[in-house]
Structures are given as structure tokens and as C-alpha cells.
């Protein structure tokens, strides 16, 4: 358009220079509350044969993540399609400046797991955080921590936080694993009782589900939640109406644990958990007829591509996915009319941060999978 060149947009305080406004600014929000920082791998150590302790370090001038114990981050490395979610394994108060520790378990065939095959010290890694709402509560009730697999990280961070806060409450920490070979941090966790308030109990109880019958293991056996129920709840060591439960681990373990506790009379409001959801869980969907375009969800995006502003959604494919998504070209939008938000389920990491951030309750995993766009171009 010939007239565009005449638009004056003064720069740098002195409005003499002419500059065009037709270059398209980055449509992704810059002021994100979830920070996406560049980091390097500082160290990588084996905890067990398949679990690694990964410490990463952000640049010195990076804005610290304003996280609390129990939250998680996403990590992305070169060659990987999608970032993966991992809980911080330490309370922020226990970390060195700009450093973050994760316990990562190798899963056969998992993309990130393959990356762990080599020592990656010194390599670049992208971290976005903080995410999640799992945290230590303020009550005096007994803490019942139930972790499985790499769910150890978040619960370990919660326990560390409790030590920092010098809490005056009992803590029973049950860790579910398959065999002795899957156990780690046992000595460290057992020793926590020395740091715990003397008037209160701290017990660390590993529970093994697949340990051979004839092994030298003389500790607890079975499924972790059953063990807790039979030996603590039913024996009255822990009372259902004065405990708070912290779960972290695979969704089936959390579901089973929550069911047991609920049946035993623990209120839902006394159970805190962070399930590691993956692509099998439904991605949230935005109902644009409820969306108020406040940008709150865009400010908590863990990845650039999960929520996009679309001009147009292509035809639905048989699998329920959109054939193509035409992103907004900001230099040529008509603002409100084309600003339809769409969650790309291939990019969504199921953090549900947008669901929590939305003040208009326009985002939910339950909506009809077909997003409503507000306006199609009217042909005349």
C-alpha cells in the first residue's frame, strides 16, 4: 500500500526518523510469567542404572524462576520435538544460584531418555518454568508423602522445604519402587530424621513391588498405597482427619492412592498431587465464545507453540485434528475479529497452566473438541 511509507512512528525520543510499521512483530507474548531460559548441563550422574541426577545452570544474568518447592519445569534439548516436564528435585532454597536439579528416569524408547545415553555435560538445554501448583501446605497436620518412580523429585523438594521451614509436624514418606535396584537417596532420606524437629517423627519407608521373594530385602513389600493403608491408616498411626497427603508419580499410582485415602475418610481438600500427564490426557480446548482476550493464558505458555492465535483453522482431519492452522500475521490483522485462540494439542505439554490462568473459565479439557471460531471471512 503506497501510503504506508508515509506513516511516521517516532523512535528513540526524537521523532525525526520515519519508520514503517508494516514489519510483523513477533506474535508471541514477551512478558511471559513462565520464563523460557537458556541453560547448560552442569553435571549428569547416575542415581540408579536408569535414573539420572541432572543439574543445569542458567546464565548468570537470567531472571531467576520464581518457583516454590513442588513445582516443575519443562526441558527441551536439540533434536527433540517437544519439551518434557520434570519436577524440580530440590527446594529452591537448597539450590546454588541459577542451578536446578532434576531426577530423570530413562524410559525405554522415550525421546529424552535416548538423549540421556551420552554424557551431556556442557550441552545447551532450554528450560521453561515455573509450572504447577503442588506445594507444601501451612497446616500442622501429619504429612503423608507418597512417591513413585521419578515422582521422588517433587516430594523430595517438599520434604526439603519442610526442613527449611522447621515445621512441627510428623512426616511419613513412602516411596514405591519395583526392586532394590530402583532405590536411590535412601541414606540421605533416612538421615533426614536427624534434622527433623525432635518432638516429631520423620519416617522414610521404601516399598518394593517386584523384589524377588528370596532376596535379602527385609523392608516393606507390595504396592505403596496398600502398604500405607494396611500398616499406618488401619493401625491408627496416621488418622484420616488430621493428615495431609502429597502424591507424586505416575497417574495410576496417584489415582489408586487418592481412592484409598478417600475411602479411609481423608478429605479431598487434604490431598495434593501433581500427576505427570502426557499426550494420553486430553489437551485443554479454548471456547472462544467465552474468551475475553486478556492474554493471561499467553503469559503462562511453557512453549511458544502451544497456544496460537489463529486467523483460520483448516478442515478437520479424520483423527479430529486440524489439517492446518493459519497463524495470525499481526501486520495485517483486523484485531479482535481474527484473534481466535487455539491450543495445538501436538505442542501442548498438558501443564494446564492456561486452565488455571483463565479468569473467564474459557479453557477446559472438557469442551467439545471442536473449537469455536468467532468469525469467518464473509465473502461478498
Amino acid at each position: 500500500m503506497s501510503s504506508v511509507s508515509n506513516f511516521v512512528y517516532p523512535k528513540n525520543g526524537v521523532p525525526s526518523s520515519k519508520s514503517k510499521i508494516n514489519s510483523a512483530p513477533n506474535p508471541d507474548v514477551q512478558n511471559s510469567r513462565v520464563k523460557i531460559n537458556e541453560a547448560v548441563v552442569k553435571s549428569m550422574d547416575n542415581l540408579t542404572s536408569d535414573t539420572y541426577k541432572l543439574v543445569i545452570k542458567c546464565h548468570d544474568d537470567a531472571l531467576p524462576f520464581n518457583s516454590h518447592a513442588g513445582q516443575y519445569a519443562t526441558l527441551k534439548v536439540d533434536g527433540l520435538d517437544k519439551p518434557r516436564a520434570y519436577s524440580f528435585a530440590k527446594s529452591p532454597k537448597s539450590e546454588n544460584k541459577n542451578e536446578y536439579t532434576f531426577f530423570i528416569r530413562q524410559v525405554p524408547g522415550g525421546e529424552f531418555s535416548n538423549w540421556l545415553d551420552k554424557n551431556r555435560t556442557g550441552e545447551k538445554i532450554i528450560i521453561s518454568a515455573p509450572l504447577g501448583y503442588f506445594k507444601l501446605d501451612d497446616s500442622k497436620d501429619d504429612m503423608v508423602c507418597i512417591a513413585g518412580g521419578s515422582g521422588m523429585s517433587a516430594v523430595n523438594a517438599i520434604v526439603e522445604e519442610a526442613i527449611h521451614q522447621k515445621v512441627k509436624r510428623n512426616c511419613y514418606f513412602f516411596y514405591g519402587a519395583r526392586t532394590q535396584n530402583d532405590l536411590y537417596l535412601v541414606d540421605e532420606l533416612t538421615k533426614i530424621s536427624e534434622k527433623w524437629d525432635k518432638d516429631f517423627k520423620f519416617e522414610f519407608v521404601p516399598v518394593l513391588s517386584e523384589e524377588p521373594e528370596d532376596s535379602d530385602w527385609d523392608g516393606a513389600r507390595g504396592f505403596v498405597t496398600d502398604y500405607f493403608k494396611n500398616n499406618y491408616l488401619e493401625k491408627g498411626i496416621v488418622s484420616a482427619d488430621s493428615c495431609k497427603a502429597f502424591f507424586c508419580g505416575p497417574p495410576p499410582m496417584i489415582d489408586a492412592g487418592a481412592k484409598v485415602l478417600k475411602e479411609a475418610g481423608v478429605a479431598e481438600s487434604s490431598m495434593f498431587f501433581d500427576k505427570f500427564e502426557d499426550a494420553r490426557s486430553p489437551a485443554p480446548v479454548i471456547d472462544n465464545s467465552k474468551c475475553v482476550l486478556c492474554d493471561e493464558c499467553l503469559l503462562v505458555k511453557p512453549t511458544a507453540g502451544c497456544i496460537v492465535e489463529t486467523a483460520k483453522l483448516g478442515k478437520l482431519k479424520d483423527n479430529g485434528k486440524y489439517a492446518d492452522i493459519e497463524r495470525i500475521d499481526p501486520a495485517y490483522t483486523s484485531g479482535l475479529y481474527y484473534n481466535t485462540l487455539y491450543i495445538n494439542e501436538d505442542e501442548c505439554i498438558r501443564c494446564y497452566a492456561c486452565v488455571h490462568a483463565c479468569p473467564a473459565k474459557a479453557i477446559s479439557p472438557q469442551y467439545d473438541l471442536e473449537p469455536k471460531t468467532l468469525r469467518e471471512t464473509v465473502e461478498t
Binding site: M1, S2, S3, V4, N6, F7, V8, Y9, P10, K11, N12, G13, V14, P15, S16, I21, A24, P25, P27, V29, Q30, N31, R33, L63, P64, F65, N66, H68, K97, S289, K290, C291, V292, L293, C294, D295, E296, L299, P330, A331, Y332, T333, S334, G335, L336, Y337, N339, A357, P359, A360, K361, L374, R375, T377, V378, E379, T380
Partner: protein
Amino acid sequence: MAAKPKDFSSSVVNYIPKIKPPEGHSIHHVCCPHDCPDTCSMLVTRNDKTGKAVSVQGDPSHPITKGYLCNKVNHYIDLVYNENRVMYPHKRVGPKGPNAKFERISWDEALDEITQNFKETIEKYGSEAVQPFSYSGTLGMLGYWTMDNRFWNKMEAARLEQSICIYAAMWAGLYTYGLANGPHVGEAARDGCELMILWGANLVSTGVHSIPFIREAQDRGMKLVVVDPRKTRTTMMCDWHIQPKPGTDAFLANAMIKVIVDNNLHDVDFLNEQTHGWEEFVEKILPKYTLEEAEKVTGVKASEIEKLAVEYAKTKKSYIRANYGLNRHQNSGQMCRAVLILPCFNGSWREECGGAAFGQLEEMWLRFDLGKLQRPDLGNRAEKRVVNMVQIGRALADNIGVDGEQLDPPIKSLFVYNSDIANCTPNSGNVRKGMSRDDLFVAVHETFWTDSCMYADIVLPADTALERMDCHWAYGSWFLGVAKPVIEPLGESINNTELFRMLAKKMNYVDSNDNAFTQTDEEIIKDILIEANNEDGERFNCLTEGINYDDLVKNGWARASTNSKRRDFLNNGWETPSKKIEIKCEAITEAYPDVSPFPEYVPEIHGQEDPLRSKYPIQVLSSASHYFIGDSFQSVPRLQAMQSRPTVELSIKDAKQRDIKDGDLVRLYNDNGETYCYAVIIDGLLDGVCATQKQFKGSNTPGGLNVNVLNSEMLTDFGMSPTFYSVLVEIEKASDEMIENAVKQGVV
């Protein structure tokens, strides 16, 4: 309504932000200063080492803000640290106009130039030749109307009627109810409202914090009706969208009342006890508002009007939230009154969640002791010499005052602050022509390099909300907030109060026996609140009862004491001459002899029934955009991107008739001028109506002038408001040649 509102809590709660700052950072309360009813409480995180603000978020403790911000203020950091900010005083070198050039000078030089001009102007022409011009660039009590007014009062400068936004609606409210506002829209929704009517209110874009309250109420069964000729984000969430032709709402409201009375559904007890003149209104005025005629005038089906009227009459727990679009038509004073009296007929005022309101402006802003804030006693400023800001164009360009008489003396010195005068005023082409006068000195105090700066002799750098202290009283809720500076002012920017203290010093206005120009911001805010402790005071502001300064600063916000016994209108009477709600208002007719004392429908000049439509058939509604308020947010990259070009909504029929396709650049024109927009064709928009953005930056508009170039400087029936929506145009597809010509012609 006012008797015993359910409080959110005590007016001030001991709140410590639960959000912990990252290491080396601290969190501060700031109140959003922008022209919006919500007046949010923000939490700003500052890096204490660099002194820079790094993020903003909504205060989770604030009962209206509820922890989230709007799409504009969510990007506030980009507004503060923005390359388009005026950082230092500048002096123009070369001619005035869109491509003006400036060079940096010192504050001392700038103040000398300005005060030298003031002194010379006063000596040669008198102090009334100095014209201040300001509006809602900040809505802080201090920045908006304190130290500046003291300065102009001392100088005895020309007055400015600050009527550009809400006056017709405000006067409609004052004439009808006196100083009394209904509940906040969100509180009404929360407190059991069963039927809510958003009348001309696109709250998703212009008051988003009410939406979650409304949504929740809808989930429990509240019915939401939106009355709006446009299709908006808000009409998309309603249960029932009613689309009257613009400017015909008074007919719609009166036809509803006629249905209510004809069906004997009106609350006779309430009308007798609380209102004045209702029987005369019913007998003399209502008969002509038949459903048949209503359908013809408003375009809304008779059956729909009847259904709405009956449902409204039968739902005592009902609330009407009108918005200021209604008050931008030539016939809008009466239109606003007609809508505002509806709850007298179903008696919903008796309900905690009932009544009707444009917001809480009148009470929140007019209960102050303005004498104490603005000190009119400092000078003997003439009442007579006043310019209506709506007509600043004719005052500057044609030397004509409000009464149509020649201005004597003419305006020789214009001081602009808190306002982008070149884009926000009606007939903006004429305004720019006036500002271009060689014999006019112009100083502009601004945060950004606005189009207005291009006409200035001196440009002074202004600050942002993070750099100053101020106290904010929401005009759309019952909350007030206070903020202390979070960061050092950027560059050499200076806040409004300090600017006028500096000017006062240079003008030798400072009197050692009077603290008018030496009071600190903190002292002024304390003064506002101390009124509360002085029950014997004449102007005791009942809304400040129980609020003390220290708690307010600590919490960042407080709730006005709406449960004060002093504002129990149902029992104590209303603050009107008759002590009742004035359905018949003689005071209006005394002030405006041509205007009926009853809220009658009078066809809008330059509206739907104007014969001018045969030449200019399309009425332009230039409503608030989702992406900016005035000029300031238009410099934020994210928001500029989302509204990168001016658009005009057209109906399918109107577009087809003119061979206009979606996305085409089109020309809007009438006898006042022309502007260009990109067409957006809206299925369901009324024919004969188009809609565009108010105050889009002229310099980012093809041709250089925004839609305000099409306005006349006509005033509303009463209230002296502008008639931004009483604009008729023709629209055509723009050719490249047209655009080039417009560009060549320059701005004026």
C-alpha cells in the same frame, strides 16, 4: 440498594502479598491509572539491583481485579520501557505538523520558555488567553485534578469544560438520582441478580473484570441480555442480544415502561414513595410509545420488546449496567435518563443487586471537597471564560466560544497534558488547523511522542504509573487504590503534580504562608482521607469513613464505605430538589429550555431519522477498541500488532451495495472530511450502521487523520457532551490514487 450492601470484607484487610518475589526482587502495589472502570490493583516486581520493573500481575487480594489483568495492562512493562517515550524536554525546530523536528533542551530552559510565554501572554492579552487542556491520560486524583487546578486558579486562566466523555450520562444520573450510584455490576451479579441487562456495554473490552462475576451468575441461572447495535465479544456471551438502531434507545426504554404499566406490572408503592412525576409521565408522555411505533423507530420486533418488558417487570432481582456509548449521541441525555428510570418501574432498587448504573463515577468522584483539592480561592478565575473541550477546534481555529460569541481575548497559549488533543477531539482536522496557528504557543506534557506533540513548541516528558505516587478512585467500582513509585522516573520525566509545582515556582506563585504549591503528594492524599475523620466538616465524604492512610498504603486498596448511613437513599431521600428520584426533572428544563422535563425520545440530529441520511446513509459508531485506551497503549508492540490498522465493520448488505470485499481499504467521508479504514464485513451488523475504533493514532491511519475528522462539534441535548456517534457518512472503496492524494494533501 445502598442501605446495607454486602461487603467484601471490612473496608481494609491486613493483606501481605502471598506472591513471594524472586531473590533480589521486591513486589509493590500500583494502581492502574488508565481510563477504565475497573481501576485494577497491580503487583509490580522490581529488580532491586537494577532498579527496573520486571513484571506486572493482577493483585489476587483485590476483590475486583482477582489476580488477573487485561490484555493492555498485562503488557505494562513494554509501555514503561518503550522507545516511543518522551524522555527529555524538547523544543521544536522547524514548522509545526506531522513531520515536526525537535531538539533536546534542559528542564530549566523548557520551563523558562513556557513561563516566559505565560507572562508575556498575560501582560499583553490577559490571563484568560492561556488555555489549559487536559483529560483522562491519568485518572489519579493528584494527576487528574489537583496541583494543575491550583496553578490555573492562581493564574486565573481560561476554564475548560472537561465534558469529552461522560457528561451526558453523568448529568442524566445527577438530574434523576442526585449523587447516588447503584451497585457495581459484578457485585450485583454476585448478590443474586436474576436478569442483567448490559445496555450498550461491551464489557469484555471495556471492563473485563466484571465478566467472571457475570459468567458465574449465568452458570447459576442469571439471564444476560445485551442491548447493542453491534456484535461484540460481549454480545457473543449473552443469552439474548437486542439490536436497536443507534440513538433510539429512549424509545425502546419508554416502550418497555408502557408495556409494564399497561400490564399493571409496575411497582406503584415504589413509584409513589420514591419518585417524582411518574403519573404525569405515564399519562402525558407514554401513550405515544406504542409497540407498533417502537418497532418502526428502533427496528426491534414489537414481540421482543414486549417479552423483555414483561420479564424485566417480573424480575425484581434485575440490574442494568449501561455504558458510555449511549452518551455519545446528540439525543443522549434523555436517552440515558430513559434507561436509568427503568428500575423505578419494577422496583428493583429495593434489591441489594438491583437498580441501574453507568458505573460509580458520580459518587466516587464528586463527593470530594474539590475546594480543598483545587483551591479556587487562590485567584479570581472568571466563570464566564470557558471553552468546552468538545469545541476546542472552533475555539482554536475560528476563535469561537461555547456561546457562539467571539473569544476575547483569543487563545494565545495552549498547555496540553493528560490528553492527545490532536486525535481525541471531535472535528480533529479543525483542531489541528487551530494548533498549527503561528501565533499560538503550544506546550505538551506527554509520556509518548503523540501526534499532538507534533504541534508543540515545547514538549515535556511525563512519567507512567510506576514512577509516581497517586490515589485512584474507580469510576466503575467501589474501590480505591494508592500507589507509591516503584522505579525512578525514566530519563527526565516528571509527574503532573511536580510539573505544576515547578511552574508555580517559576511564576512566583509560591506563598510562604500557604502550602498550595508546597504540599507533597502524600500530604494531599492524607488530606483526602482526613475528611473522613471530620464529621462536622461541611463536605464530609461518607465514602472515606474508616479508611486510614497507613492501611491503604500497606494494602494498596480499600473499599469505599458504601454502607455509610449517610447514603441510605431509600430511607433518607435522594439528593435531588424533590428529595425523590426525578422522573420529572424541572431542573433540566430550567437549564435547557428546549429539553422536556421527562425522558422523551427525540430523533437524533445526524442519526437514523435525519434526512441527511439520503446523502450520507451510514451512521458511524466509533467505540472503544480492545487493544488500546487513547494513545498510550498504541506504542506497545504486542498491542500495536493486534490492532495494526484501523478497521470498519460493515453489514453484508452495505458492503455488497458498494462492491466492498472483506479487507478492502475503504474511504469514509462526509462534509467534514474523510478517513480510511480496512473493511471487516460482519454478518449480523445492522444495515446503515458501521463501527470503527475511537482514537486510533492518526499518524498510523492512511491519510493521517482518524475517524474524529468526520465529527461535528455539536453538543448533546444536555450535559454539553460530544456527539461522537452522531456521524453520518458514505463509504466507498479507496483507490490507490485517492490514498496518494490524501497523503500529498498532508494533514490539513
